[in-house]
């Protein structure tokens, strides 16, 4: 296995041959859908008249709530999310009906002819309005430790502050898409751009009023997901399925960009208020933090998003007394949802805000105050336990931090920068180093399981199925690597299959940075089961027909079935190994050959062993299953051991800010991130760089604005600005952290999840901008809005200059 493995679909990507949901060969009679959108953020629906639209050429149906044969609900946690509302509009642009026509253009034209009567109602259009109206989803959540009131009272210093953090559109390049059809057996066949095919399957069954076994959901690949297709692919699968169900013809939905941005939820905006107590050195004593997430009109995934924010507000810092309260504002906006980091980024931005305010209040270097407050192993009294009761296992952060400080020449550059700032009244440079500690595992414990199905055909070729979806993150590439390494064969023998609910059932969303951890172990378990079945047969063949073999075998990559005892669940391997001859345990599968450990010169071809196994009437198909060990979480108490382990990283960023315009440029970035023992370094690097830039966009140029009626004004890339290549510095240094101590956990091949954590490295951009703004004056507080657009930075400078 090459660690420099590039993406398994790379050739398909560059040649245009890689097929996405809306690019399949169209079946005869394929229909297209287009929504009828409400022109109010909050309204009562008085009447829907579809007659004129239905009379138009090419129109086959106009779907409304009344057409739903099953349950009109898609809520993943709370049942509050109608596919189409029966009587109430809950946000501007909400789809109240869907037109089904021969062409998209016809559907679009007919949608304009659907007459809907509304009675407009007052709307809550931001988190402040919801707080004032006490409009919340669900009761407040709490996570706490110690006695915060006493801690604050006893602290040498106290300060309070608040911060509004803006949301973020996912801006996956491929908008939401689903094709649905009814097959020969009356089953609903879906091809959806979904991160969670099992849930899409279940939701469609629920909406149609049929059992899940009558729905198959496949995901070919996604043109980006980032959390935006975790639950929010479901509405579009549901209406496509409903259209197919009603008309008997295949139907497709592919949203135009503006529709996608108007209809789907985003990263939650958060409003935070905090009071923190600390000593003269900036050591935190106590913190009371109130977080309000803007959930939008329905609950969706807001509770676990909020909870992840609440258990990441500490970021890398030990606080003896903590009280975090969290609420979900109910507003008349699109329902906010999962987005890379899942609330963690918002929590950590608040945490870093607190650290900066404490340091500037005391006039201490911010980097030193950060470092001083780190979780650390081996301190008395203990400083390594989080406020939710889980120790920071394998805490490599202090070591990583020290390495990055040195490699980035932080101290030297700090001195140079101060000199620059003294000489330039209208241009200031800022420098910041920030850490990332991110818990890996779904907060919802039951999601931490995965399955795989590995099929070996009698010619020695292999089909690999697992429950994860491919959205560009390279999961399939890693799974191919895991299967090839475990089976001891080349990747060219293995065909990765599209994700399908009829191959692996009851899968979890590909999310929470866990795709590789969970599915990798399941794939490995399935492969080990197969090896254990083939090993006795190979042993017998080698005993009877010891074949001379000229090709030498390198030691690297040797694999004996069941030799990796740390594998948590491979019972099949051990049983069959015992049952066979002792030699079975010594059979090695490597480099497409099979041989006895002591006699590598006598080897069999992998495909010959497969053929012998088939002839011996032994199954060549196996499922694999994995569940993450040792997890527990009590959401009511906000305590437990929700994460299997933590991912660590740190970033140093340097910016220059123009005092006249507020425009900033990012001059240099140094990232050091912990991916454990990488399964595919190019893939992991891609996640680090891409996550960082996506986080940078969230914190700088990506600004969502709505008008007074609740209509999203920034619903296109002309108005919503994700980073371009021009925003990425030439000087962009990325390194993978090499840990000095082995981990105490057993993640697949000792790797670490990498999907989300690097996004939060971008907090260093925000803090570097703040550092530059601070240089325009002598303020003890630098208030900086998020996102830090040129306008926001300009206002921050004006404030600092006036202070």
């Amino acid at each position: 296995m090459s660690k420099a493995t590039t993406h398994e679909s790379a050739v398909g990507h560059v040649s245009g041959r890689a097929i996405y949901a809306d690019e399949q060969h169209p079946p005869a009679g394929l229909l297209s859908l287009y929504p009828v959108q409400a022109p109010h953020a909050h309204a009562r629906i008085l009447a829907i008249d579809t007659a004129a639209a239905r009379a138009l050429p090419g129109v086959h149906a106009v779907l409304t709530a009344a057409d739903i044969p099953g349950t009109n609900d898609l809520g993943p946690i709370v049942h509050d999310e109608p596919v189409m509302p029966a009587d109430h509009v809950s946000y501007f642009g909400q789809a109240v009906a869907w037109v089904v026509a021969d062409s998209e253009a016809q559907a679009m034209a007919a949608a304009r002819q659907v007459k809907v009567e509304y009675e407009a109602l007052p709307a809550l259009l931001d988190v402040h309005a919801a707080i004032a109206a006490e409009s919340f989803h669900l009761p407040p959540a709490r996570v706490e430790r110690g006695d915060v009131s006493a801690g604050l009272a006893a602290a040498t210093h106290r300060l309070s502050g608040e911060l509004l953090i803006g949301g973020q559109d996912h801006f996956y390049l491929e908008t939401q898409a689903c094709w649905a059809s009814i097959d020969s057996e009356g089953l609903v066949q879906l091809v959806s751009s979904t991160q969670h095919p099992s849930e899409t399957q279940h939701m469609v069954a629920h909406v149609l009023g049929i059992a899940s076994h009558r729905v198959v959901c496949r995901c070919l690949r996604m043109g980006g997901g980032f959390g935006g297709k975790e639950t929010q692919a479901n509405p579009f699968a549901a209406v496509a399925a409903l259209a197919a169900w009603k008309t008997g013809r295949p139907a497709r939905v592919k949203l135009h960009r503006a529709l996608d941005m108007q209809l789907t939820g985003k990263r939650h905006p958060f409003f935070a208020r905090f009071t923190v107590g600390f000593d003269d050195d900036g050591l935190l004593q106590a913190a009371r933090i109130d977080l309000v997430a803007d959930g939008g009109w329905s609950v969706d995934l807001s509770p676990p998003v909020l909870m992840r924010a609440m258990v990441h507000v500490d970021n890398a810092y030990f606080i003896p007394h903590v009280e975090v309260q969290g609420r979900i504002a109910k507003t008349h906006l699109a329902s906010n949802t999962a987005f890379r980091g899942f609330g963690g980024p918002q929590g950590m931005v608040v945490g870093e805000e607190i650290l900066d305010r404490v340091a500037r209040f005391l006039g201490l270097p911010v980097d030193q105050v950060r470092e001083r407050n780190f979780y650390r192993e081996g301190c008395t009294p203990d400083r390594n336990q989080t406020h939710y009761g889980q120790p920071v296992v394998d805490n490599h952060l202090p070591e990583l931090w020290a390495q990055l400080r040195t490699s980035s020449a932080y101290d030297l550059r700090r001195a140079e920068l101060d000199a620059f700032n003294r000489e330039h009244p209208q241009r200031k440079r800022g420098l910041a180093i920030t850490p990332v500690k991110f818990g890996i595992s779904f907060n919802k414990t039951e999601y931490n399981q995965a399955g795989a199905l590995v099929l070996i055909y009698s010619d020695g070729s292999v089909q690999l199925n697992h429950g994860g979806t491919e959205m560009g993150q390279g999961l399939h590439t890693k799974m191919l690597a895991v299967a090839a390494r475990t089976l001891g064969i080349s990747q060219s023998r293995i065909q990765i299959m599209v994700t399908s609910t009829d191959k692996v059932p009851n899968t979890s969303a590909t999310a929470a940075s866990s795709g590789s951890d969970l599915n990798g172990q399941a794939v490995k378990a399935a492969c080990e089961t197969l090896l254990a079945r083939m090993a006795p047969i190979a042993a017998a063949s080698l005993r009877v027909h010891p074949l001379p073999n000229p090709s030498p075998i390198e030691g690297e990559g040797l694999k004996t079935p069941g030799s990796d005892r740390s594998s948590p669940l491979s019972p099949g391997g051990r049983e069959v190994g015992r049952e066979g001859a002792d030699e079975a345990a010594d059979i090695v599968f490597a480099d497409d050959r099979v041989f006895h450990r002591d006699r590598p010169e006598h080897s069999l071809a992998f495909h010959d062993v497969v053929r012998s196994t088939y002839n011996a009437r032994v199954s060549l198909a196996a499922t694999g299953y994995y569940r993450t060990p040792g997890l527990s979480w009590d959401p009511k108490l906000g305590r437990g051991h929700p994460f299997y382990y933590f991912a660590f990283g740190a970033a140093v960023c340097e910016v220059e800010v123009c005092g006249l315009t507020g425009v900033h440029s990012l001059r240099r970035v140094d990232l050091l991130h912990d991916v454990g023992d990488s399964i595919a370094e190019l893939i992991d690097r891609g996640q680090i760089e891409g996550g960082f830039v996506q986080g940078m966009g969230w914190l700088t140029s990506e600004e969502l604005r709505w008008n007074a009626q609740g209509r999203l004004l920034t619903d296109a890339p002309s108005t919503y600005k994700i980073p371009t290549v021009g925003d990425v510095p030439e000087d962009f240094r990325v390194d993978l952290f090499r840990r000095s101590k082995p981990p105490s956990t057993n993640v697949i091949f000792h790797s670490k999840g990498v999907g989300e954590p690097p996004l939060m490295l971008a907090i260093a951009v925000r803090e570097a901008i703040r550092d530059a703004v601070a240089a325009f004056g002598d303020a003890r507080v630098v208030e900086l809005a998020s996102p830090s657009t040129p306008e926001a930075i300009y206002h921050a400078i004006v404030k600092v200059r006036g202070a």
Binding site: R17, L173, V693, S718, P723, T724
Partner: protein, 457 residues
Amino acid sequence: MTSSTSFTLNGKPVDLAGADPTQSLLRWLRGQRLTGTKEGCGDGDCGACTVAMVETDGAGRAQYRAVNSCLLPVGALPGREVVTVEALAEGDRLHPAQQVLVDGAGSQCGYCTPGFVMSLFVGSHDGDLSDHCIEGNLCRCTGYRPIRDAARRLAAQPVVEDRFHQALAEPRAALATSALGAFHNPTTLAEALALKQQLPQASWIAGATDLGVNLSRGQPVAPAFIALDRIAELQQLEIGEHAVRIGAGVPLSRLEQELAGLFPLLDDMLPWFAAKQVKNRATFGGGLGSASPIGDLAPILLALDGDVHLLGPNGARDVPAAAFFLDYRLTARSEDELIVAVTLPRRAGLVTASYKVAKRQTDDISIVAASFALALDGERRVQQVRLAYGGVAATPRRALRTETLLHGQVLGDAVVEQARASLAEEFTPLSDHRADADYRRALAGNLFVKFVAEKLA
């Protein structure tokens, strides 16, 4: 078999007869099952739909140009040549523009990738593989580092004379007059004006980088179109000793190249005006014709006291820049007139600069755009001053009050501060999704301070 309604797609003629001329090339391609070209936005802002189109320059040389196929109406295609991502590889042998992305892990989800491939393909032909080559391509996965590196590796490779180079070298006739349905492609000004007389409801359409957005969004624009992008008279660029006359139909990428060094105002602005795919189609004339209140080039025209040359059924007339912009989306051009050219005078002794502030510094629409032109005498007394802005009023506008205030004054700190305060009060801009009014007002003054500090210190 070629006809007047056919175009060349990946080396083969394709007849478009019967196709909807207002449909975008992108949607048409996907309808033909050429799905390598992707729709990321349909607004010309993401580059996922980038294709290469052959353009012949003034000297008759053919070149590949990267264009957004989502903004290109099918009606504009007859006689043209287009290359899409599907044509690049020969069987399993990838084109170098593809191979460098594979080798450098330049794709993750892959949806933006064909667009990058086409930008790199064009860049490998025209020699620009800098960031500007790929600035018009959005990627949400990679963070661009591997794509930028791939572009550099491609730039370092020796050019191989392949079938694409050979295809370019073949002689080409000028594009012929054609029509696809109600989409008319005249080749002379006389034809264009005559068509407008016959079809008074028809809309002029130049590079389609503005109207193409409306068409792509399915919004009704006009019952007929008269395209201006193959009229040779509009493609001329005359560089004189005292002035430069810019044909209204010259794509901005040509201005950027061929006028480089002549006008600092253009040199400052064009790199940030828009992405390459847009600049390859957008024109000075089109920008003035659409009368956007921002229009990054309009302030330049105002700052240099340029002229707009119009031609209509009643003949030709010249309108000074100062008299061209009348009100929101309203100019001195009457509906049946065409902008044929603008003239920018070349004056010695002027210190000039353009500034653009946007939410994102590359490929964004300005919050405020400003163009300044100032002449000082030996005592730093202001002899001439033009302070022109976009984004602060219903039209691009000069700050006449502040110009008067500055005229004849010695440009010292106090005067600059007076001017800044005056500029901040001179306009009453709007608050919108790009920025609030007070920030725009502050920028109006501060950009002048920046200009003085950077160019007149």
